[in-house]
Amino acid sequence: MNRKKLQWILAALAPLWLAFHFSASIKGEKQNAFMPGDASHGHHQIQLQCSACHTEDMGVKHDACASCHQEELDRVADSHPVTKFLDPRNADRVAILDARKCVTCHVEHQPDQTAQMGVTLPEDYCYFCHQDVAEERPTHEGLPFNSCSTTGCHNFHDNSALYEDFLEKHLDDPIHKPDPSVPPRTLYQNWAHENETSPLSLAQRDAPTSTHYSQDIAFEWSTSSHAQAGVNCMDCHQSEQSSDWVAKPGIASCQNCHDYETDTFLQSRHGMRLDLGLSPMTPAHAKLPMHAGAGHKELSCVSCHDDHSFETRFAAVNACMSCHDDSHTNSYKESKHYQLWLAESNGTAPAGTGVSCATCHLPRVEVTEFGETLTKVLHNQNDVLRPNEKMIRPVCIQCHGVGFSIDALADPNLLENNFSGPSSIHVESLEMVVEKLSRVAARRSQGTN
């Protein structure tokens, strides 16, 4: 074969090879052929599941963001809801910054421009609409606009612990509240009574005799909260379709009773891959430092809640520490929070007074179901993680004052050492509220309005 013939053959094969490559990239597990850049830290785990956010022609779905994030925004009474910018009277503002669309501020696949919270605008974006803030609030005169949302004072979406009247109500909070504790979980405490079930003993287990399992497993179950609540083997291990025994029930089995917990788990970094039908997250997928030996653990309900014992205290601390390997996690056992957890675990302090990883990262929140207010555990740990002021209301102020909490969360050193020692940073939000109240009182006493 002469050289010219070989060139012709290669020239003919090249497009075929390219077509095959792109076809495999689009249809296969790795759909990265057209990905313009890595997705942000919030989405990198699912970045190859293009259809989660994109239409077939690679446009962005109209509800791509809202389908996962709207519930969270509603829960915190979003300070800048889309509806505010749909009003025609705000057309001039929309012309400057189109806040009707999430992607105006959060452009994906732009790793070089993406800051915290996936924001791709410069940090002084508040200037667009609030450049005259000092006219109404003299305390804000001269403050740089890139400090509004980066110093613990304001957030674009969630100001539920930062709005003026809330701060006013908490001006005199002590550092530590009297008798601090987390609220008890309300639903499952009464579950057995409300469902007229009785505690089950080891001998009452209803696994089919043809099933092989270790006696350890049966014993663990018999001492679990499930056995106490009358939840038997078949309640979890029976297929809903065929009534057959299922050796390893999936998340759907847990979901039958623990819907809020599983739903919020699936919204979290831990469960978002499962929610999209992908393989479970493993610590190897994480951007945070993890123990090398934990890299291949698969996250599910039972990866933290040891199956059959379902020990929640293990899930609250040791399950986290078995994977996470960063300074915040590794400093926990040196913290006062851990001392409180030990005291509660030893029975020397009342229930609810210990502070575990889960106390802060999977907080107990009030939810309304069928018109009844219940306290359940939020299993989307990212919901209260960033910006960290989101943690103030559901977590910090259960035990601490608001001012103390704002200062603590603003100090990066305290985040590193897991809140050992006082904050070296003071955020002047409360002082600004006091100044405002004094100014209004003075104006009123002069009778100017």
């Binding site: 009474a77 509806t83 749909l86 009003d87 025609p88 057309a91 001039d92 809330f166 209004v440 009123r444």
Partner: protein, 198 residues
Amino acid sequence: MKKKAILYTALLGGALISSTLFLSGCGGSAEASTSGISPQKMADGLHLVMKSDRTIYTRNVVNRLVKQDKVIKASEHWADDKALPLPAQMFRMGAEMVAKEPDAGFSYSLQSIWPINQQNAPKTEAEKIGLQYVIDNPGQNYYAEEELGGVNYFTGVYADTGVAAACIDCHNEHKDSPKTDFKLGDVMGGVVIRIPID
């Protein structure tokens, strides 16, 4: 035979023509009935519903339970305080729900030249003129056309009057209120209704 064929053809043709006329007549009258509503008439009707609901909520819910029976509070932070939403907030929540409907065909807001929240001060020329007009001309509404964001709107501005002690006291006592001497029956602001027009 030939006569019969002609008769059948004539009957069939007559039926076709009459049914066509009948159907086209129906379409015409339906079109006439919808296109017959002017933007002003629609805005007036919408405002009447808004005003009625708002007055009833203010008098029969908030004022009765808070001021008269004293069984519950009304609060700007109603969820946090486990209290009743203020009448202005109930009104705005309705406006936000309408705003989420892409085919609603109208939008509305509550504004004032003495706003507690500066975001609710008049912004457009029509709003500024209209809010002053309904104060200066009791019992009259203000109508205008304006272009916002490349869309033409019919804009109606309607006086919003303090109908109960709850309205007056809350505004007079609020730390952010620029006016603290409202009296019952005063125009405190205005409802602005916008309808996009071609």
